[in-house]
Subunit: 288 residues, 2 copies
């Protein structure tokens, strides 16, 4: 199996456990499993909370590097069926990042303006700048997921997009952006329960849309489209990671660890001062 | 003294304690004081952590309201001298918000493009959309602060900006945005200590710029410019709040409470379902 372009550290347990490689079979992956972690929910929540300090330092180093002229950045892409927990990952994982260094873009159905452009146009416009962690809540993969399931463009068109995506991502990686692509993988039964909860609780009604059930009716087609996407677009430079997500606590812990392991692989260093530190100390000391 | 346009709840202790009213004197406000809170640092940090659940629910209600067609939003403006703790407020207060509902804009020296437009142009472009909490790290107030201190435009020009700002903010408030303007108020001694720490610690060197000392030399001019700004632009619809900030823990607690009190004043309700809940339950139940 191919390795990632940046060498993950020996401790990169989640990268190893969740990476999509040759022969990957989505239907064979148990959405209730917890690869790379053998504790229970309480232990998982404790483990997630304990990662905050490491994250804070790594993210600050990435940001600091850019202030000293560095060009590296990170892009975290989150995909998954409705109710798979994308919002929870945003709140509990991305919410743990320093908000000054993160930018979430949520991709909805393309606007009239966006439709005038090639499908990657709006994606390019949302790429992270140096030092930042960009986060995509859905992404260009919708252009080979919902678009494929409903033939929103002819098959002759969407079938060419896998290669276009691979070329595009290779270019993004070459420009200095570490790309981390995550699919949150839930079971049909779990989705049924989560949709049911949204219908039972008045404070969750606003999250429900009757269209969610129309989409659910295409469950098998979506699984097939996801299988094709992660299989055809898991490249050396930008591999896919499929995270079992029936247990929300595990999915959050796994995504956080994937981010941390990729940040660690960057071997980020504090920039050295580009001014005379001792001279500035003396100058400050003489000020009132 | 005038009251805010939305009536703060009886519990709005921080709004009452920190609001800039008639006769406000910046130089008379002790930067080490803790208005509205009589505990120590440990108690303050505990109090801040305890506010998370209330914040999460209020922010989600604001977001949900917009999904049901509501147009309200919030804009939090943070101003303060270098090292006054703006970054810490972003990390520890704004960092506690759901990142899906928040958008930070950090205003630097205007770009060539921005300079071609009136000073409020880039501000308008960054206003929050419905359901969002926009956060400004520095703002249009720099156009009556650094610009005034260094006469970057003629006095005849900057002196007219106070009225322009008041008109602009009145328009923003009328459009449904609650504006919360906060100045973090530190002492000159405290700044000296914080700059000194940045020089002592190699992992903080990247935060230091020799220009910071050039600005420090204008301390008194900046205090005068801040006094003018908060005095002339504390309006009924968009009052200023000056937060003593020599104690970082207090400043964070105060800003969080100011946000919460303003959110509570909005009396946010969960939207009611715009679909037949029982029919959707039956439909879901029949699905595999």
């Amino acid at each position: 199996m191919a390795t990632t372009s940046t060498t993950p550290p020996a401790s990169a347990a989640y990268i190893k456990a969740l990476r999509v490689g040759e022969g990957f079979d989505l239907l064979a992956l148990d959405p209730r499993s917890t690869p790379g972690f053998d504790g229970d929910k309480a232990a998982g929540e404790k483990a997630l909370a304990a990662l905050g300090d490491r994250l804070a330092e790594l993210q600050e180093r990435l940001y600091a590097e850019s202030k000293a002229g560095g060009t590296r950045s990170m892009l975290l892409i989150i995909q998954g069926m409705d109710t798979s927990g994308k919002g929870g990952v945003m709140r509990h994982v991305v919410g743990a990042f320093d908000p000054q260094g993160v930018d979430i873009t949520s991709f909805k159905a393309p606007t009239a303006e966006e439709k005038k452009h090639p499908f990657l146009w709006r994606i390019r416009n949302a790429l992270p700048t140096a030092g930042q962690i960009g986060v995509f809540d859905r992404s260009h993969y919708e252009d080979v997921l919902i678009v494929r399931v409903h033939d929103l463009v002819p098959q002759s068109e969407w079938s060419g997009r896998y290669a276009q995506i691979n070329d595009f991502e290779a270019e993004v990686v070459a420009s200095g952006t570490t790309v981390v692509k995550v699919m949150l993988h839930i079971s049909s039964d779990e989705q049924k329960e989560r949709l049911s909860e949204r219908l039972e609780r008045p404070d969750k009604h606003w999250k429900f849309n009757p269209g969610d059930l129309d989409e659910r009716a295409h469950w098998a087609d979506y699984q097939e489209a996801y299988q094709a996407a992660v299989e055809r677009c898991s490249t050396d430079g930008a591999p896919w990671f499929v995270v079992p997500a029936d247990r929300k606590w595990y999915a959050r812990l796994a995504v956080m660890n994937l981010v941390l392991e990729h940040l660690e692989a960057l071997d980020l260093q504090w920039p050295t001062a580009d001014f005379d530190v001792e001279a500035e100390k003396r100058r400050l000391a003489t000020m009132p």
